[in-house]
Symmetry: C2
């Protein structure tokens, strides 16, 4: 099977792409599957070629708090950080859309950092991006009330799915925001009253305008 790595990772050098095609194992995941589990050892670095991954932080009771998305051209930062030692995953990664990842044996991490400038830049950029996303998530969590968190959540969804019609399951949103279904239900109603969203049939909502 031939992958279009150039498309997903346009900044990679030709040599690196060739090396990737040679060394990397291709894995396909279906929606709902788990890409990485909390506590699981990383055996390889994971690069997302296609699809969409949702990353969560879990607490002891199994509550799954949403932290960020991973998209094509991105990588699981934690799998990279574990390169040297045998480290466990600190997060849970669930497949949203059918996803193609390439898994690179950990030992190439350091070697390629040395050999390919584009890999070096990619790794540092990955760290920076994930760190910043985490800071933003922390902001939302620490400084915002639930109504604002919900609005920010909807904005993220709209942005990531590039559509103003979202399939939203209140129960799931509640879990991901560490709230409860009833609260989300009432807040959704308020957003609709404020004209920010329109509640359609089923589990569909239309985003009208999420700016206050």
């Amino acid at each position: 099977m031939k992958l279009d790595l150039r498309n997903a990772f346009p900044n990679f050098e030709i040599k690196l792409i060739e090396n990737l095609e040679d060394k990397a194992e291709i894995k396909i995941f279906e929606p709902g599957e788990v890409l990485m589990k909390t506590g699981q050892y990383f055996k390889s670095i994971l690069l997302i070629v296609d699809g969409l991954i949702k990353v969560y932080r879990e607490d002891e009771e199994g509550q799954e708090y949403f932290i960020y998305y991973l998209q094509p051209g991105q990588a699981c930062a934690l799998s990279m950080m574990s390169a040297s030692k045998q480290e466990k995953s600190e997060v849970l990664g669930k497949v949203v859309n059918k996803t193609t990842v390439i898994a690179i044996p950990l030992e190439y991490m350091d070697q390629w950092m040395h050999d390919y400038k584009s890999w070096y830049n990619f790794v540092l950029e990955t760290y920076r991006k994930r760190f910043e996303e985490l800071l933003i998530t922390l902001d939302h969590t620490a400084f915002r009330n639930m109504d604002e968190k919900l609005i920010l959540y909807l904005k993220r969804e709209q942005l990531i799915h590039r559509t103003s019609i979202l399939t939203i399951n209140n129960t799931e949103v509640a879990q991901e925001l560490n709230s409860s279904r009833e609260v989300i239900s009432r807040l959704m109603k308020k957003l609709a009253e404020r004209g920010m969203i329109k509640q359609l049939k089923n589990q569909l909502i239309e985003i009208i305008n999420l700016e206050y």
Copy 2:
């Protein structure tokens, strides 16, 4: 002035230490001073040789939410990540104890990654450590009630200062936990009732046992 860099960074190669002594600018900060401001451009990578730094995330109203400490032998991860582009600081760093830092011009970052294995390891380890600390902070923020947050806060303080007698200012704790003085005051009283702490004179408390 001669710095004991070997002591603060025991894993650095001799050559790297020599290079550091040559290239780095030494800066001394007094308690209360600001090491890095949110929005400020990084001109250099900051390594902590001695002292203690408290790092905060700020919201628009200037609320300062505590995220983690930086200690000798550690570095400001964000200053490293900004190495390539001109990036602004996302956090606020305040000096707790008189602190000595060495400031390294950004251009050496990439060069040394190439030249010194110990620098490479240090940078990756810094990223990993900060990322993990941020995840832990997020846990506390997302999953814990204020009483638990306070207990975790006190544990961190005890650990970092290596003493069971803490100088605690309720007003400040409230700000750092994004709560209010009154709430902290009442929770402290409860912790004292449960025998977990003892409230001494002034702003002193003694940690007895913070495990439930």
